[in-house]
């Protein structure tokens, strides 16, 4: 599963993307975030406040309780601020 990080999520983790293979117990984006938090201090800092995170599964915006099964690409990022 390809992960993409943007804005301060990317900065805190220190990379813009990484390849991961989460266990079967990771069912939702929220589960994925909790699981990723254990990977490094940077991950823990980026994911400390899940309320401030948004996600996209295969480039479509989803709520954090969306399932991750079958996803090729998951992006995690702060609320968007374009325009």
């Amino acid at each position: 599963m390809q992960l993409l990080y943007f804005a301060w999520v990317r900065e805190r983790i220190g990379v813009g993307s990484e390849q991961v293979d989460p266990p079967q117990t990771v069912a939702t984006v929220a589960d994925l975030i909790a699981w990723l938090s254990l990977r490094s201090e940077g991950h823990a800092a980026a994911f400390a406040e899940p309320d401030r995170l948004r996600a996209a599964v295969d480039q479509a915006f989803v709520p954090l309780d969306a399932p991750v099964a079958g996803a090729r690409e998951i992006a995690i990022f702060p609320p968007v601020t374009g325009g």
Binding site: F6, V80, G83
Partner: protein, 147 residues
């Protein structure tokens, strides 16, 4: 069904709203919106990060929604990315229709919804310090009035 002209662009180059406006003159009514980097709040550089691929798809989806909902003859969304200076143009939206209310509403819809539905992030540099811009509830409110 629709033969509307849709133009969506994410670019590091300067936006030319004048040319975009004239290109939109395909109906009886053309409405445009141009957003500029503010000059008044001490920001020396504004950087726009985006999610390549997903951004273009989001903008295209927005333009298609507007064309369908207001029977537009043309819709344009252009968003600058990368570093830019105060006074430079960040974003341009435009809509053309046979009817003025449709063009005006669609143009407002495009800019309001772009702010919540497209994956862009602003980082400001103020006095040499970078900081990520926080999302505003007022943007959600503006976007929600179209739902």
């Amino acid at each position: 069904m629709s033969s509307a002209s849709i133009r969506v662009l994410v670019t590091t180059e300067t936006i030319d709203p004048a040319a975009e406006l004239v290109a939109l003159e395909q109906g009886g009514a053309v409405a445009t919106f141009t957003g500029l980097v503010r000059r008044d709040d001490g920001v020396s550089t504004l950087e726009l990060e985006h999610y390549p691929g997903a951004t273009e798809a989001a903008l295209l989806h927005l333009a298609e929604q507007a064309v369908q909902r207001w029977s537009l003859s043309a819709a344009t969304i252009i968003h600058r990315v990368g570093p830019m200076k105060p006074g430079e143009r960040i974003v341009f939206t435009g809509a053309a229709s046979a009817h003025r209310a449709a063009a005006l509403e669609a143009c407002a819809f495009l800019i309001d919804r772009l702010k919540t539905d497209a994956p862009f992030w602003k980082r400001e540099v103020v006095a040499g310090q970078g900081r990520w811009v926080e999302a505003r509830d007022s943007d959600d409110d503006a976007a929600n009035r179209w739902r």
